[in-house]
Every structure is written in structure tokens, then in C-alpha cells.
């Protein structure tokens, strides 16, 4: 990381052009930043700029850094870096290569001349005689070639050993020979395209070895180039992979939603599916229509950022650039609303499918009230919700009250349209920024202290102790599915995870992620969740409210869900919880996103930078510099814990996290900002998984396999390899093993276009691999853990 930053600092001058372009073209951070100028924060920044030039300078530095760290900046940086390498390496390597190939060409010339002399000298051309002489010449020529190549390859090695076993001379000489053999007639062997491929293989750690530096300067340059480039590439790959993964996730969700909506329409046409919830959902009120129109209008702008993260940016953009409440409401809040609509439909369907889960709501609600949060009401009315939030959310209660009023409006009106309008109004009110910033400040500062988040952990502890069932069960489980989550997330997730992973598989990550947010941004999260529940309840009526309550119960205290009752109800609750929690995640994502952006955009951005290799594990590329280790360590540290003690585990874990290391708290902080993306992804994933339409592993593997197959066919056609060879090449390349026994560059005699194509294939493929890993990681980890749990469970039973 430090290398990267150094590199970035060093290359700021070089990249200034790119950045300048980036400044204008890149909408996300810049727009947010410019938008900040209009808000109070912007006023603050200008004030600080005017007052303190040094801090202004630092801010400028921070902005450029942030810009470089953002995904397009990283991509540009990587491209620029590889091009730079492609420009540098020929300079370092060309002279020697030139001399070497010139030497070979000279020996060939000599051979040719000798041949001509022989042929001319012999007046009568006897074949035997001629052959003998020419054979002698050829042998000499061969010897000169071998000597030249060997000398070239072993030049650095100081006379390079084995003279006798020419056959056994492998490795170094192999690549050198290959290079000389094919490019000996070229005057310049390190063409730009070859050098580009070389630098790409270096920074991706593929290292084909078809081209290797032979001069000392080249080797030194390679060392430093790799030192800087490999982490850079890793960061770029991981951020791109996360982006793509989010995009794929969202696309998948949207596709599934479309499919489901289609089914819904079909079902609606059939008379019979007229449960009240369904009817409320399906009555196309004019307002929803208009909203749909708006959606259509904004679809263009939203297409641009098909990923979830984009929506947050969008919200940030519009929110900061426009003080106008209406605009804010439309642009900033509609994307989640839209998605909400889609998912709400799904929820409605779930309600139709599982009508039996209302009872379990009641159960869970009761349990929730049993848990330390003092909720007065056991019924599904709005009161407990509001109470809950006001209790937990004193700082942001202003917003809440508005929401609550909207909620009560909804309760009174009980109309979808009216409630929608009210919620829209409620949300469109600009949240008091000072509150939230202060709040977040407080929370963050609390985390900087060596005692991170005592109250939250206490609450969780209470949760755990509140339901002995949970605590008993809890230690049988492996660590909560917090994935890349930090320790605090682990602490909180432990409360939430186990239970739900019993009832419904996929909900636990969701919940843990949700709670992660709670740990991360404390009260804001509760605000978000409250907003989510309020919105859901307002949008759809009481049955939805039930779902919201269920989500609350599942998400907040996490204890209440009764351990596996009848399967259908369990599934129903699970789906409902996950759905509601998804909504809450979406909305709270929005709120946290706005808060963070209002607070300080660049620092968040930098935080994401620090997150980059951490939050999204692109496994294979991370092999080189194992930045993924922290994740793995957190993951593997847990299963290796002593397993026997049951009752103490939760407390101990909480304790450990409470008195956790600074690193833990920092990582908690660290994950905090990436949480919005992370748990959005989690949320959608889990939401999907609850209905069995997570982006399946098979789909991801299929994409990868398709990519490899395409590469196989293309390279096999180009290179006249067999299909197995092509697949082998693609696999070896994309897994960054890179033997170099099959290298396209070596057999390419044609245009250099193919070299560029190879580069592009490599980079795109690595990004795809990173993406698939970032998608698969959570699922695979979870599955592995489940297997481990089973083993341990069996053992504890025995």
C-alpha cells in the first residue's frame, strides 16, 4: 500500500494529464465534490480553504489522491503504468538485443557468403563434395547461434555453466532461444507491443517468461516496476472486480425481478390471487404510474451506473448538488424506491406464498419485546416501531418523527398512494446534516478509543443473554458469517448469524451485514432501518408492516426468531426478514452514504482505497502480494478456536472484540464505509437467496468457463493449437501461473494486433476472475463453514 501511495505521489506529474481529463469526465467524485460546494459542508471547505492554505493544499492532495484511487483513476493509472513500462523496457533492453540479433544476423551472413564462395569455387558441382563443405559451414553456423543465444541468456549469470548438455539447458536459455529464434531477423526485438505484453505480465504476476530482461538495468527496472505495479494492479483488479460483481448482482436481481413481475402479471390476470396485499400492490395508482414514468426517464442516467454503488453516488450527487428538496427526493431517493418497488413486489409475492408467517411475526415480535428493547406493543401496529427507533435513535429522531408522522398518515389513510406520497415527503425532507455528522463523529471517535462500541456490544450481549436458546446454539456455529467483516462485525454478527443460519440459510450474512452497519455507523443505521421499515409500512399496509416488524425483529435483536418451527413458516419468516432487511439495507445505505459524503468525501474515498484489496478479494491476483491474508486470517482464526465451551463463547467473543485490538477497531471502521456496497450486495444476495435466486455459483462459473472457452477457441484458431492446448493456455494465464510454454507472442508472426488482443484478454479475464471471486467468496466461505459446523456439531453431540 505504501508502495502504491509512493508511486501515486511520484507519478502525479505524469498522470496529471489523465487526471485533468478525469476531472472533467469522471462524474462520480467530482460531481459530489462540486455539489458539496453548495451545501454547508462546501461552505465549510471554502472557509477552511480561505482560512488555512496548508490544509487547502492537503485537501488538494487528498482530492487528487482520491481521484487516483477511484476506479476509473485506477484503471487509467494501470494503463498508463503499463504503457510507461512498455516505453521504458525497450530502451533498457533494446541495445543488447540489437547487438545479439545483429551478431546472429552477421553469422548468418557469414554462412551465406561461405556457401556462395563454396558454390562458386567448385567448378564442377559434385554433390558429395559440395555437401561436405556446406555441412561444415552449417555446423559452424549452428554453433554460433547456440553460442550467441546462450551467451545472451546467461550473460548476467556470468558465463553460465553447462556447455555440454545442450539438451538439458533449459529455463533461461529456453526463453532466450525462443526469442532469438523468432526475432533474430528483426533489428529490434523488443517492439512496443511485446514490451506492453511484458509489462502486463509483470504487473499481473503472470510472467510468461517469453520475454525476459537480460541486462542488469532491465532486471533492476523490472524489480522496481513489479514492486510498484503489482499492488497497483491488485487494487485496480479488486475495485474493478467489486464493481463488476455489484453490477452482475444487480443485473441478476433486476432480471429476476422482471421475470417475477412477469409472472405476477400473469397471475394477476388469473382471478384468485387477490389477497389484500396483492391488490394493494397491484392497483396501479396514478402516482405509481407517474413514478414509473419518472423511473423510465431516469433510466438513462441510471443505466450508467448499473451497479448498486452507483445509486449511492447518484444520491450523493443529487443530494449535494441540489438543495432542492424535490430534486433530492426524485433523484436521490427514487433509485432505492424503485428497487424497493421491485422488491416489494417480490415481498408481496412472498406474502402470498407464505401467508402463514404472520403468526411467526407475532412470535418474533413478542420475542423482540422480550429482548432489551422495551417495546410496549406486541401487536403489529406502528407504535413499537416508532418507539424502538426513538429509543435507539435519539440523535436522528427528528427525521424519525417526520417519518413517524408519515407512518401514522399511512396508518390512518391506509392507502398506498397517500402513504407513498407521505413517505416521499418524509424522505425528501433534507435530513439535518449537523445531527448526523455530529452523530457519526461521535461514533467514529468512540471507535478510535481503545474501547470500541461498548454500548452496542452490550446490547448484543443482552440480546444473546436474552434468549438462551440463541446463546446455546450460537457457539455450535462457526463464527458468524461475516465474510470479510471486521471483528466488530463478527461480534455483532454472532448474535445475528447463528440463529438465522439455522432457520434459513442465507439470511445470516444479510443480517450480519445489517448489523455490521449497526456496529459501523451506530445510530445512523438504526435511522436507516427505521426509515426502511417506515417506508415499507407506509408503502404497503399492515401486512407489510408485519414484514417490517419481522425484519426488525430479525435484524435488530436477532434473538427472537423461534428455532425451526414448521419449515414453511420458517422459510416465510426468513424470506420476510431478509426482504425487509434488504429494504432497510438499501435505505440505510442511502442514509449512511449521504452522511458520509456530506461529511468528507475524500476521506471516505481514501478509506475505500484502503479497503480495496481488503474488501473485495480477488483471490488469484491476490496471491502475489497476499493482501487477502487479513480476511483469511479473520476467517480462519475463528474456526480454529477452541470449540468445546459453549456458553462462554459469545461472551468471550464479544469481550475479545470489545477489548479488541486497535486493528480490529480500525478494520471495523474500515469496513464501515464499504459497508454500503458490501451489505447492499449482501442484501441483494441474501434477498435473492431467500427466494433461491442468488447469483448462483454455477452462473459465475459458467461465465468464467465461457470466457475461457472463447479464449480457447480464439487462440486455438490463431495459433493452430489444439483445443486442449488452448484451454491449458487460458487457464494457466488466467490463474496467473503463466508457464510460458504456450505464448501467443512467440508464434505470432502476423500483425501486432494480436499481441494487443492478448493483453486485453489478459486484463479483462483477470477482472472477470476477480469479479467471480468477489461474488463467490461469501457463498463459498459460508458453505465451507457450514460443512465445518456440521462436523463440529456432530462432535459436540457425540
Amino acid at each position: 500500500m505504501s508502495d502504491v501511495e509512493q508511486a501515486i505521489r511520484a507519478k502525479q506529474q505524469q498522470q496529471q494529464l489523465n487526471c485533468g481529463i478525469d476531472d472533467e469526465t469522471d462524474p462520480d467524485p467530482d460531481a459530489a465534490e462540486s455539489g458539496a460546494g453548495t451545501t454547508e459542508v462546501g461552505a465549510r471547505t471554502t472557509a477552511s480553504l480561505a482560512a488555512k492554505p496548508s490544509s487547502g493544499l492537503r485537501r488538494c492532495c487528498g482530492h487528487t489522491l482520491k481521484l487516483l484511487i477511484s476506479t476509473p483513476g485506477l484503471v487509467l493509472l494501470v494503463i498508463g503504468y503499463s504503457v510507461l513500462g512498455a516505453l521504458i523496457f525497450p530502451l533498457l533492453e533494446a541495445p543488447q538485443d540489437l547487438s545479439k540479433s545483429a551478431a546472429i544476423a552477421k553469422s548468418r551472413e557469414d554462412c551465406l557468403r561461405e556457401l556462395w564462395i563454396i558454390t562458386e569455387k567448385l567448378n564442377v558441382l559434385y554433390e558429395r563434395n559440395w555437401t561436405m563443405l556446406v555441412h561444415e559451414q552449417l555446423r559452424r553456423f549452428e554453433g554460433s547461434i547456440v553460442a550467441a543465444t546462450r551467451q545472451g541468456s546467461a550473460g548476467g549469470a556470468g558465463g553460465g555453466g553447462s556447455v555440454g548438455g545442450g539438451g538439458l539447458f533449459q529455463g533461461g536459455s529456453a526463453s532466450a532461444l525462443g526469442h532469438f529464434g523468432y526475432d533474430a531477423d528483426d533489428s529490434q526485438s523488443w517492439t512496443f507491443s511485446e514490451a506492453l505484453l511484458y509489462s502486463v505480465t509483470v504487473i499481473t504476476t503472470i510472467g510468461h517468461g517469453s520475454l525476459t530482461p537480460r541486462t542488469a538495468a532491465g532486471k533492476l527496472a523490472t524489480i522496481f516496476y513489479a514492486l510498484v505495479g503489482v499492488p497497483l494492479m491488485l487494487m485496480c483488479l479488486s475495485s474493478l472486480g467489486a464493481l463488476l460483481a455489484d453490477g452482475l448482482q444487480c443485473t441478476y436481481v433486476r432480471l429476476c425481478c422482471q421475470l417475477q413481475r412477469h409472472q405476477e402479471h400473469r397471475r394477476k390476470s388469473t382471478p384468485g390471487a387477490s389477497t389484500p396485499t396483492a391488490s394493494t400492490k397491484m392497483t396501479p395508482t396514478p402516482l405509481t404510474k407517474s413514478r414509473d414514468k419518472k423511473k423510465e426517464k431516469e433510466k438513462g442516467s441510471k443505466r450508467r451506473m448499473a451497479n448498486c454503488k452507483g445509486c449511492k453516488y447518484d444520491a450523493a450527487n443529487s443530494e449535494t448538488s441540489l438543495n432542492d428538496c424535490l430534486e433530492y427526493g426524485q433523484k436521490g431517493k427514487l433509485p432505492p424506491d424503485k428497487r424497493e418497488g421491485g422488491e416489494c413486489r417480490a415481498i408481496v409475492r412472498m406474502l402470498i406464498v407464505f401467508p402463514a408467517h404472520v403468526q411467526s411475526h407475532a412470535n418474533s415480535n413478542a420475542n423482540a419485546n422480550a429482548s432489551p428493547n422495551p417495546m410496549g406493543n406486541h401487536t403489529l401496529s406502528q407504535q413499537p416501531l416508532v418507539k424502538y427507533h426513538t429509543i435507539h435513535m435519539q440523535p436522528a429522531s427528528g427525521k424519525h418523527r417526520v417519518l413517524a408522522s408519515g407512518l401514522q398518515d399511512a396508518a390512518v389513510g391506509n392507502l398506498v398512494t397517500g402513504s407513498e406520497a407521505s413517505t416521499l415527503e418524509a424522505i425528501t425532507l433534507p435530513p439535518p446534516p449537523a445531527y448526523q455528522t455530529a452523530n457519526v463523529h461521535a461514533v467514529r471517535r468512540a471507535k478510535f478509543v481503545t474501547k470500541p462500541l461498548p454500548h452496542e456490544i452490550n446490547a448484543l450481549m443482552d440480546c444473546g443473554t436474552g434468549s438462551p436458546d440463541l446463546s446455546g446454539r450460537h457457539d455450535l456455529l462457526p463464527p458468524p458469517h461475516s465474510g470479510a467483516a471486521a471483528a466488530v462485525a463478527a461480534a455483532t454478527g454472532t448474535a445475528a448469524g447463528p440463529m438465522l443460519s439455522y432457520t434459513a440459510a442465507a439470511t445470516s450474512p444479510q443480517l450480519s451485514s445489517g448489523i455490521k452497519v449497526a456496529a459501523g455507523t451506530g445510530a445512523t443505521m438504526v435511522a436507516g432501518r427505521g426509515a426502511a421499515t417506515a417506508a415499507t409500512t407506509a408503502l404497503h399496509d399492515n401486512s407489510f408492516m408485519a414484514a417490517g416488524v419481522c425484519g426488525m425483529a430479525g435484524g435488530g435483536p436477532a434473538a427472537p426468531l423461534p428455532p425451526p418451527p414448521p419449515v414453511t413458516t420458517a422459510a416465510g419468516t426468513a424470506t420476510a426478514t431478509s426482504a425487509a432487511a434488504t429494504l432497510s439495507a438499501l435505505l440505510s445505505a442511502n442514509s449512511t452514504g449521504t452522511v458520509d459524503i456530506m461529511e468528507d468525501e475524500d476521506e471516505q474515498e481514501r478509506e475505500r482505497l484502503s479497503n480495496c484489496p481488503h474488501g473485495t478479494p480477488s483471490r488469484v491476483p491476490l496471491i502475489a502480494s497476499p493482501l487477502a491474508v487479513p480476511q483469511d486470517s479473520t476467517l480462519h482464526r475463528h474456526p480454529l478456536q477452541p470449540l468445546g465451551r459453549k456458553t462462554l463463547l459469545l461472551t468471550r467473543r464479544c469481550h475479545r472484540n470489545a477489548s479488541g485490538t486497535l486493528y480490529d477497531s480500525t478494520t471495523a471502521n474500515n469496513t464501515e464505509t464499504s459497508d454500503d456496497e458490501e451489505y447492499m450486495q449482501h442484501g441483494s444476495e441474501q434477498f435473492d437467496s431467500a427466494e433461491g435466486r442468488q447469483v448462483p455459483i454455477s452462473l459465475v462459473l459458467l461465465i468464467l468457463a465461457c470466457y475461457i472457452c472463447v479464449g480457447t477457441v480464439v487462440f486455438a484458431l490463431w495459433e493452430n493449437w489444439s483445443l486442449v492446448d488452448g484451454a491449458y493456455f487460458c487457464f494457466v494465464t488466467l490463474s496467473t501461473i503463466g508457464y510460458g510454454d504456450f505464448v501467443p507472442a512467440r508464434s505470432f508472426n502476423g500483425p501486432e494486433l494480436q499481441l494487443y488482443a492478448c493483453c486485453a484478454y489478459l486484463l479483462l479475464g483477470l477482472v472477470l476472475v476477480a469479479m467471480s471471486f468477489s461474488i463467490l467468496e461469501t457463498q463459498l466461505m459460508w458453505k465451507c463453514k457450514r460443512i465445518a459446523v456440521r462436523l463440529k456439531l456432530a462432535r459436540t453431540n457425540a
Binding site: 500500500m1 556446406v134 510468461h208 427528528g398 502475489a624 483469511d632
Partner: protein, 395 residues
């Protein structure tokens, strides 16, 4: 009868359970720190045997099936005949340039053929056990030197499967060992560099740190109070309903900041003692130390390989970096010199090289782990500074 059966069952079940228990213990052990090393080692050794067997078997099969492919083609003879043909063709009209051009083409082909022959090398001789060991090591570490590559189709397919299983295994190994190494390194660092062994120095250091921290905390508290006041005033103007909540916010934040200040105030000796004794997790190792460790490891490797392989230091460090970063060009390969010598040395060199690589990757992982920790910590600090300055300006 029933009692007998029950007793039998009672006797039977524990045995079965014991067996299951043993299995479980075994798996747990295998994924523990020691076990993962054994697992990786045995996986590599097994891979070596498998690849050796496959390649030799396939080679023998292919050789028996199509012997003509494996008779070394007489390139020079072919070249000779072609040149002779050209010469005989051109004997009627002796165009110097045309002749030269055509012979030049022939010679180029010849040159390439020689190069290819050299490049391919012998097919089977390289698949000695040590070669295959190195091959499987380079597969699962994704170094991929490429000096030894599978020639048969089955070898390639098995390589793909082997890599799919082996790479996650190796990642597991890396994370486990890296974690253990990081912990132990932290411990050593805390004991040696921070002088926690001798209590006087540590005490003084901690007292100094606490004084600094207290000042910082005081400043933070001031900022916090001002900020809370400002925020409460702002929100009371913006909405009338939030006065009590803002006051609660104020109290809460002040409570937090006071708790923040409280910690360093307790300055008693026992506290310091506890801190000295306390867990070493809270220490972050500076980045420079990590970089020193990495550079030192690479230089040590350069020294080592320089002795084993007769490389100079630049080549040695180049090789170490390329290997440890898993780039693996393969222009310098361990055992390259020794492989031509007697066999005993080869094994030793290979084993040492494998140990160096396996350990080195774990060390690099450790260093990255620690560095990331430290960088994150630093960023946090910078951010705090930013925020404090920010708030100061704004309020």
C-alpha cells in the same frame, strides 16, 4: 436379549463415534497450522509423483505408438538437401542476389528449427522427481517458471485440476502461516524493539505516550463540545421537535469524549504494568520494519542462491523477487546448474529452494498483513487529523 443388544449397541456406538471423532480430529489437525504445512507438502509430493508418472507414461505410450515423432530430425541434413536443391536449380543461371535470398530463407528456417529443438529440450529427462516437485510447487504457488511443462494432453488436464484444488489450499496455507508469523513477529517486535522486556524503558515510553494522548483527547473534547453545541443550535433552528434529542446527543457525545479522556487519566502503575503485560495485538509494527524484513529476506535469498547457483547478487535478488511475487519468468530457475550435475545435489537444492519459496511467500504475506494494518492505522490517524482541523475551522 434386548439388554444384550443394547449393551452391544452401547459398545458399538462409542467405537463408531470414536472413529468419527478421530476423523474429525484429523481434519481439524490438518487444517491447523502444523497440519496445513504437512498438507501442502504432501500435496506437492503427491503432485510430483502424479505428474512424473503421467508424463513418463504418456511419453512411453506415445513413443511406442508413434516412434517417428521422437527420432530427432536431422535438421542440418534437411537444410543441406534444400540448399543443394536450390543450388542445383540455380546452376543454370547464377543470379547472385536471388540465390542469396533463397538460401537465406532456408538458413532462417534452419535457425528456427535449431532454436526450437533447444527450446523443447528433452521431454522426459526433465521429469525427474525433483523436477516434478518443482513443477507442482510452481503450479500451486502460481509461480509457473515454465522450465518444466507438461507435454501430454493428460498432463495438461491434470495440471488444471491440480491447480484448481491446490491454489486454494496454498492460499489457506498462506493465510494461516502468515497469520501465525505476523503474530509472532509482533510479539518479538514488542519484546525487543519496544523494550517491553525491561520495564523501566517501557514505563517511561508509555507515560510519554499517554501524556500525548491526553492532550489530544482534550483537544478532541473541546472540538466535540463545540461541535455538539453548534449542531444542537442548528437543528433547533431547523426543526422544533428535536430539541431534547439534540441535547441527548450532546450528552452522549460528551459522555463518549469524557470516556475517551478517562482512559488515559488513569495513570497508575498497575495500569501501566497491565499495559506492558497486555496483549501484543494492539501494537502496530511500522511499515519500515516490514519493508526491512522483506528486503532482508530477499537479500538473504540472493546470498543463498548466489552460493547454490553461482548467480551474482543482482540475479539472485531478481530471482527471489520474481519468484516471491509469483511472477516467475523462468529465465532463472533454481537447480538449473545442479540438474546437470549428480543427482544428490539436485534433491538438496530443490528441497532448499522449495522451503525458501514456501517460507518466503508466508513471510511476504506476513509483511503485507502487518503493512496493511499499519497503513490502515495511519490513514485513520490522517483522517482524524483532517477531521479535527475541519471541525475546528467550521466551528
Amino acid at each position: 436379549m434386548s439388554s444384550r443388544r443394547s449393551s452391544f449397541r452401547r459398545r458399538e456406538k462409542p467405537a463408531f463415534e470414536r472413529f468419527k471423532d478421530h476423523c474429525r480430529h484429523f481434519t481439524a489437525f490438518m487444517f491447523s497450522n502444523v497440519g496445513i504445512i504437512l498438507l501442502v507438502t504432501f500435496y506437492i509430493i503427491g503432485g510430483a509423483f502424479i505428474f512424473q508418472g503421467i508424463e513418463i507414461f504418456e511419453y512411453e505410450k506415445l513413443k511406442s505408438a508413434k516412434p517417428h515423432r521422437f527420432i530427432a530430425r536431422n535438421f542440418s541434413g534437411e537444410c543441406l538437401t534444400r540448399i543443394w536443391e536450390i543450388t542445383a536449380e540455380n546452376i543454370s543461371f547464377f543470379d547472385h542476389h536471388a540465390y542469396r535470398r533463397r538460401v537465406n530463407d532456408v538458413l532462417l528456417d534452419y535457425q528456427r528449427a535449431i532454436v526450437k529443438k533447444q527450446l523443447r529440450g528433452p521431454d522426459v529427462e526433465q521429469w525427474s522427481f525433483s523436477g516434478a516437485f518443482l513443477y507442482s510447487l510452481t503450479v500451486i504457488t502460481t509461480i509457473g517458471y515454465g522450465n518444466i511443462t507438461p507435454q501430454s494432453e493428460w498432463g495438461k488436464l491434470v495440471t488444471i485440476l491440480y491447480a484448481i484444488i491446490g491454489m486454494p489450499l496454498f492460499l489457506l496455507y498462506l493465510s494461516n502461516i502468515g497469520d501465525v508469523l505476523a503474530k509472532s513477529f509482533k510479539w518479538i517486535y514488542s519484546k525487543v524493539c519496544l523494550c517491553r522486556i525491561c520495564p523501566g524503558v517501557a514505563k517511561r515510553r508509555i507515560i510519554r505516550e499517554r501524556r500525548k494522548m491526553r492532550q489530544l483527547a482534550r483537544a478532541l473534547q473541546m472540538h466535540d463540545m463545540e461541535n455538539a453545541r453548534g449542531s444542537s443550535s442548528y437543528t433547533s433552528t431547523s426543526s422544533t421537535t428535536t430539541s431534547n434529542s439534540s441535547s441527548s446527543d450532546y450528552t452522549r457525545s460528551s459522555r463518549q469524549s469524557s470516556s475517551l479522556v478517562d482512559i488515559p487519566y488513569s495513570d497508575s502503575d498497575s495500569d501501566i504494568e497491565r499495559e506492558i503485560r497486555g496483549s501484543t495485538d494492539e501494537i502496530t509494527v511500522p511499515v519500515t520494519v516490514c519493508i526491512f524484513v522483506m528486503v532482508g529476506y530477499i537479500l538473504w535469498g540472493a546470498l543463498l542462491f548466489g552460493r547454490w547457483e553461482d548467480w551474482n547478487y543482482l540475479d539472485g535478488s531478481y530471482f527471489c523477487l520474481i519468484s516471491l511475487s509469483s511472477i516467475g519468468f523462468g529465465d532463472l530457475v533454481p537447480g538449473d546448474r545442479v540438474i546437470t550435475a549428480d543427482k544428490d545435489k539436485v534433491e538438496v537444492s530443490f528441497i532448499l529452494c522449495a522451503i525458501y519459496l514456501l517460507l518466503g511467500m508466508a513471510v511476504i504475506a506476513m509483511c503485507f498483513n502487518l503493512m496493511q494494518e499499519q497503513v490502515v492505522h495511519n490513514i485513520r490517524a490522517i483522517k482524524r487529523g483532517f477531521k479535527a482541523c475541519f471541525r475546528c475551522r467550521s466551528s
